[in-house]
């Protein structure tokens, strides 16, 4: 996906929230949606199962209006975290400009986080993107849970963030860290306006 189009004066960024099932990807988008002023509230598309698990994906278009003469749009997606929705994750990743990896801070979820991160890298590589240079931020979610249940930030960062990308502790259910993560990934994506994502 082209991030900036000079001829039509448009900036479009596709941001995908990736991570294991129940890590809080949809909650991130729901919080962002709740904060939008009425005039900017489009439709958040969400397909969930009866147990509120994301079935297909969530989609939240963010029309930011005209900035410096450019009509600016952010398109936020989530992927279904469950292992068996691999094909959907690959589909949603197509044309991605940046990824927020939403990790579940619970100690018992570490293996799922690692598996999902590997899955992300494989899918990016399959789609022709170099996973080492794809704009990425890490979000360590559920920091509101009791200290005994969550891994320390340093440990999570040591185990998951081998690229050393920016990371954000978050409690998406209360909104903490949600916009910080979005701002973080937006900043990296926008910094590459002149250098589109390189396909291998």
């Amino acid at each position: 996906m082209s991030v900036v189009n000079y001829s039509t004066r448009e900036i479009t960024c596709k941001i995908v929230y990736y991570g294991p099932g129940r890590s809080g990807k949809t909650t991130n988008l729901q919080h962002i949606y709740s904060q939008l002023p009425e005039e900017r509230k489009g439709k958040m598309v969400s397909l969930a199962t009866e147990t509120d698990r994301t079935l297909f994906f969530d989609f939240l278009p963010l029309d930011l209006g005209t900035i410096s003469g450019f009509n600016t749009r952010f398109q936020l997606y989530t992927v279904p975290g469950q292992v068996y929705y691999a094909a959907t994750r690959k589909l949603v990743l197509q044309g991605v400009d940046g990824v927020v990896f939403v990790a579940d801070s619970q100690s018992r979820q570490l293996a799922e986080n690692i598996e999902s991160l590997q899955d992300l890298h494989e899918n990016l590589a399959d789609d022709g993107f170099d996973p080492r240079i794809m704009p990425l931020v890490m979000q360590y979610n559920k920091r509101d849970l009791p200290a005994g249940e969550v891994s320390p930030i340093e440990e999570l960062d040591d185990r998951l963030n081998f690229r050393g990308v920016p990371y954000f502790p978050a409690s998406a259910i209360g909104g903490g860290g949600v916009f910080e993560s979005l701002r973080g990934i937006a900043s990296i994506v926008l910094a590459r306006l002149s250098a589109p994502v390189v396909k291998r």
């Binding site: 900036v4 000079y6 900036i11 962002i32 709740s34 904060q35 939008l36 002023p37 900017r40 930011l64 900035i67 410096s68 003469g69 450019f70 600016t72 909104g175 949600v178 916009f179 979005l182 701002r183 937006a186 900043s187 926008l190 910094a191 306006l193 002149s194």
Partner: protein, 75 residues
């Protein structure tokens, strides 16, 4: 109650802050891109059409210029 009011007043401020940061980011980026882009090429120079050497009736008015122009064409 007070907490509810505070929460309501907080709604939207996160987005406003985000918009402010993003606007600044884009503005700086666009400026640097504009500076880096090559200046638009000037329109191709069009040869000024020489003054007509013919009268409305097709009579040659300026023989010297006609000769000069023929020599120019031959070169």
């Amino acid at each position: 109650m007070a907490a509810d009011e505070s929460k309501q007043s907080d709604e939207g401020t996160e987005f406003a802050d985000f918009m402010s940061d993003i606007s600044q980011e884009i503005s700086e980026r666009v400026e640097s891109l504009d500076a880096a882009l090559p200046a638009p090429a000037p329109p191709p120079m069009r040869k000024a059409s020489p003054p007509s050497l013919l009268s409305d009736a097709g009579m040659i008015l300026d023989w010297d210029n006609v000769a000069d122009r023929m020599i120019e064409e031959m070169l």
